[in-house]
Amino acid sequence: MNAENPIWALISTFGLMSLFAVGGAAAAVPEMHRIAVEVHHWMTDKQFADAYAIAQLSPGPNVLIVTLIGYAVAGIPGALAATLAMCLPTALLAYCVSRLLNRPSRSRWPGLIQAALVPLSIGLMSASALILAQSTDRTLAALLLTATVAVIASVSRINPLWLLLVGGLLGFAGIV
């Protein structure tokens, strides 16, 4: 339980964070950024933005950005520790609550709490967008790409993967 042990720091950080991650993984991104970049200096701003991009581009739940953060801190054991710490406690909590609430809508509290969390998780996700934009959109071309993707994805049902690939191509061509 040495406080300097990086594995223990990962487990306590992400274990605690997951319990406050209302609204899923995207809502937890600002807190991950604050802790990984500003508090512990595990990564630079740029590395964090890269990790987010890799997590978006890869299959699986988007929460797996924590695998990349964990690897940056402590290699493969760090990657596994961060992933389990972020995913297991709340999954077990969900298991216990679902057993307790096995009968439907006995009370209106679940619906009420859920309605109350909606605006908060949208606020958290917009904060994620702002923080990531601050590190990626440093040029006018980059800002334009982000804005264009935002508009296209808002009005059409195109597979997001295509938009990510176009972004990668424009980057490869040196345009953004």
């Binding site: 699986g60 969900a94 609550v97 439907p104 606020g123 967008a129 982000t146 972004g167």
Partner: protein, 201 residues
């Protein structure tokens, strides 16, 4: 944990779920498959596999299970795998679904982390990742916009103020998540409770 105890059975509609629950290996494989198909989010694929392909749950049962996982903290789809697996096969089923969902993509992500650690400074890769990052932020903005639309349409002032408050506290002031939520959750629950009581009265 049989399906009879699951909610939504009260609905008069005939639930079209398979009689025998799937085995642990089947659960693991099904979740591994939907996870690997799920670029940019697994939920759509999870719904398709559970409700349409395997018919392990009705659409109502799926919605109810997802709503529960959505209002609890943590990654929703991960919570869903545990709750769903355990409803069909007890805790072992929960662990099988959880492992199926997380193990394959975690391995892929670890390999990518190794690649990034070695080649992350290569100029071409840097540029490609920069382009992808810009697009990824655009996608996130679109999701936020879609989620915000119902609040804007209803002109839900309380919700919009709460949303803006959280955005400023976390995004601009960079306050810690726990502190912000310990204030915002009671405020939000209280406001909605009062509003609903006023509507009911």
């Amino acid at each position: 944990m049989s399906l009879d105890s699951a909610p939504a059975a009260q609905e008069p509609g005939i639930p079209t779920v398979h009689a025998s629950p799937p085995g642990l290996v089947a659960l693991f494989l099904a979740f591994a498959r939907m996870s690997l198909a799920g670029f940019g989010g697994v939920l759509v694929f999870a719904r398709q596999a559970i409700v349409e392909r395997h018919r392990w749950m009705t659409a109502d049962q799926f919605n109810e299970t997802f709503a529960l996982c959505h209002f609890l903290p943590g990654p929703n789809i991960v919570n869903l795998s545990m709750v769903f697996g355990s409803r069909l096969r007890g805790i072992a089923g929960g662990v099988a679904a959880f492992t199926g969902l997380l193990l394959p993509p975690t391995l892929i992500m670890t390999v990518l982390a190794i690649v990034y650690a070695r080649f992350g400074d290569v100029e071409v890769l840097r540029r490609v990742l920069a382009g992808i990052s810009c697009a990824a932020v655009g996608l996130l903005i679109a999701v936020v916009f879609r989620m915000m639309t119902p609040l804007l349409k209803r002109l839900d002032a309380v919700a919009l103020i709460l949303m803006l408050g959280v955005f400023l506290a976390i995004g601009v002031l960079r306050l810690p998540l726990q502190a912000v939520l310990l204030v915002a959750i009671p405020l939000s629950v209280g406001a909605i409770f009062l509003m609903r009581r006023k509507v009911a009265a």
